[in-house]
């Protein structure tokens, strides 16, 4: 487990204020934007940062993040490039925990042991691997543990209560709760069923819960704060970069995160 990540969730926060977890795809819109975006996210009040590792076939992502992946891949951004971005951001003073979010094949291609060891050395805190459910995660989970990295499992509205202990068992820092069945990039906000679902999840874990998918505004994040420990926004940040014609993306991200956190 990442001590930095555990500590970040343990740090005192004003009541009802969730940790904010912004996401950006590495290499989007340009390679040279990623490190400044990570630093700007922290300055603007991000609690934890998710850095998306581009993949050619992001089948859990909606059109916005698919496109960001494609643009990053056109610039040849690899998993090792993502590690280099984090290493550089740490050298420039980034303190926030950073999770790499993506798909399994780039990790397999680099090698699970090497991916985990190099990630730890670069200052990464953990992995969210969309297509690696607990049943398939044993070997990578062991590599994460050996390198003091957190493995963050996802919980979905379709996850049954009987299955929750199995999912919770692989978590060590927090669980990522997918708010709606669907791809990233929805705008549905906070579903009515979410509080009840979170209650069910809490019956099977004492770890913090982060909520993502369908969360796109400051109001959504504030609402999440009443029920969960953290809220994730991804597609809306990419969309904010796109809406500005990809001009001055670092400033667009900074403004977006400041607006959500009130910094």
């Amino acid at each position: 487990m990442s001590e930095r990540l555990r500590q970040r969730f343990a740090d005192p926060r004003p009541p009802g204020e969730p940790l904010f977890i912004p996401y950006v795809t590495a290499g989007y819109p340009r390679r040279e934007d990623t490190v400044p975006i990570l630093l700007a996210m922290e300055e603007a009040g991000a609690g934890v940062i998710e850095l998306g590792v581009p993949f050619s076939d992001p089948l859990a992502d909606g059109a916005t993040i698919q496109h960001a992946n494609q643009v990053a891949l056109e610039q040849g951004v690899t998993l090792r490039d993502c590690l280099a971005f984090v290493r550089e951001a740490r050298a420039r003073g980034l303190q926030a925990p950073v999770l790499l979010m993506g798909y399994y094949n780039p990790i397999l291609a680099l090698g699970e042991a090497r991916a985990a060891a190099e990630a730890a050395a670069a200052g990464v805190d953990g992995f969210i691997v969309v297509d690696l459910p607990p049943e398939e995660a044993a070997s990578f989970l062991a590599e994460c543990r050996a390198n003091h990295l957190s493995f963050v499992p996802l919980v979905a509205p379709t996850t049954s209560e009987q299955r929750l202990p199995r999912v919770a068992a692989v978590a060590d820092a927090f669980l990522y709760v997918v708010s709606v069945a669907g791809t990233t990039g929805g705008h549905g906000g906070v579903p009515d069923a979410l509080p009840g679902f979170l209650d069910m999840v809490r019956r099977h874990t004492s770890l913090p819960l982060a909520v993502g998918f369908g969360i796109s505004t400051r109001e959504h994040v504030a609402a999440i704060g009443r029920f969960a420990d953290a809220a994730v926004i991804g597609s809306a940040i990419i969309a904010a970069i796109d809406a500005a014609g990809r001009q001055r993306p670092v400033e667009r991200v900074r403004e977006f995160v400041e607006d959500v956190t009130g910094h």
């Binding site: 998993l79 094949n105 690696l132 459910p133 996850t159 069945a181």
Partner: protein, 396 residues
């Protein structure tokens, strides 16, 4: 309970269920339902009845006398899946899975299609069973398979164009998965090849194994013995695994033929087993065409149905365990195979099995006249006339 009826999730080290959490429950539900259905005589009786009266099974085993004479080697036998309803083997699986979906109470079916044969087969069984149907298809494939697109629409299906990535089968699968993640409560994803997360490779193989079971019995009856070699084309590999599986315990050499496109050395091909390495795509661990960083490569083949960067995980297992061998045949050779069968026997094959035909004829020449070679002819070639004409420089 699931633990009483669960099916093996892996073929050696290959296979598995690498899916987003949202889809885990649907795969488990499908696995449980299928494990019960395959032991249920009522389900099997309905399937068998429809395979006979609706699909037209058993399909014939044909002795290709003229091609045998021309090659001067092994006796050549052809398993005629081109004569199944809708013109290809795809209907075997589409029918079986649609019956399963009805058992699961899911009124909506989605599917991906490359050449359009699986899309047509799915639209067909949905029309017959009264199920809603949406078919995802890459815009590149929509262009080269316009006849099948129109057939699907006539059958009442919605054809959803996919304009991402290489705009072919791989991208259609991504988009179908996204639909399924969003609509999983009401929808069954009717995967068309022996690929994807567990239990799909097992389900598709079981429903397609009717090809090999019939062919095995027909060889024994008509040739008086088993074939020495069985040859089939491999894209995702459903017709090949269907043909091969019933022969796995027999002394029969099994040869899968992948799409060599412009040639393996050109890098423009779809030969995952010949030129790829293991990885995870579309929920399964299998041989993939990928770059050093694990990004999936774009593929090329004249035949839309073989234009896929992965392959069914059981084929990966048959390759590494050396029970089957895999070779590639390029676009130009496939056209030769197409013409040889068309002119030699009056059977117009689809471009996909034309790959198998080319390799089989070469193989037959190297065998003795007392040996027997079996070709899986997965579908008919009507859909490919525009592509063949263009490749031969003819304007229709």
């Amino acid at each position: 309970m699931a633990s009483d009826v669960s099916l093996p999730a892996r073929f050696g080290d290959f296979g598995g269920r690498y899916v987003p959490e949202t889809l885990v429950a649907a795969h488990q539900e499908l696995e449980d339902a299928y494990a019960v259905a395959r032991g249920d005589p009522v389900f099997q009786a309905e399937l068998d009845d429809l395979l006979h009266h609706y699909v037209g099974r058993p399909t014939p085993l044909y002795f290709a006398e003229r091609l045998t004479g021309e090659c001067g080697g092994a006796r050549i036998w052809i398993k005629r899946e081109d004569l199944a309803h809708t013109g290809a083997h795809k209907i075997n699986n589409a029918l079986g899975q649609a019956l399963l979906a009805r058992r699961l109470g899911k009124p909506r079916i989605i599917a991906e299609t490359g050449a359009g044969q699986h899309g047509v087969a799915t639209a067909t069984v949905c029309a017959m069973l009264g199920l809603e149907c949406a078919v995802y298809m890459g815009t590149e494939d929509i262009h080269r398979q316009s006849l099948n697109v129109f057939r699907m629409k006539m059958l009442g299906a919605t054809v959803v164009p996919v304009d991402t990535g290489s705009r072919t089968l791989k991208d259609a699968i991504n988009e179908a998965m996204r639909d399924w993640v969003t609509n999983v409560a009401t929808t069954h994803y009717l995967i068309g090849s022996a690929i994807g997360p567990h239990p799909f490779p097992t389900i598709v193989r079981d429903f397609q194994s009717v090809i090999g079971r019939e062919a095995r019995a027909q060889m024994l009856e008509q040739a008086g013995r088993l074939p020495d070699v069985a040859v089939a084309c491999v894209g995702g590999g459903s017709n090949a695994i269907g043909l091969f599986h019933p022969f796995l315990d027999d002394p029969v050499r099994l040869v899968g033929v992948e799409a060599g496109g412009d040639g393996i050395s050109s890098g423009r091909h779809a030969a995952s087993l010949v030129a790829g390495r293991p990885g995870v795509l579309h929920g399964t661990k299998t041989y993939l065409l990928q770059d050093q960083a694990g990004q999936i490569r774009e593929t090329h083949s004249l035949s839309a149905g073989l234009d896929y960067p992965g392959v069914g995980p059981e084929h990966s297992w048959l390759k590494t365990s050396e029970r089957a061998e895999y070779v590639s045949v390029d676009d130009r050779q496939a056209l030769e195979g197409f013409q040889a069968l068309t002119r030699g026997e009056g059977i117009i094959p689809a471009l996909e099995p034309s790959h198998a035909v080319y390799h089989a004829l070469a193989l037959a020449r190297s065998l003795r006249p007392d040996q027997n070679l079996l070709i899986g002819l997965s579908g008919r070639g009507d859909k490919d006339m525009h592509t063949v004409a263009a490749a031969l420089g003819v304007t229709l």
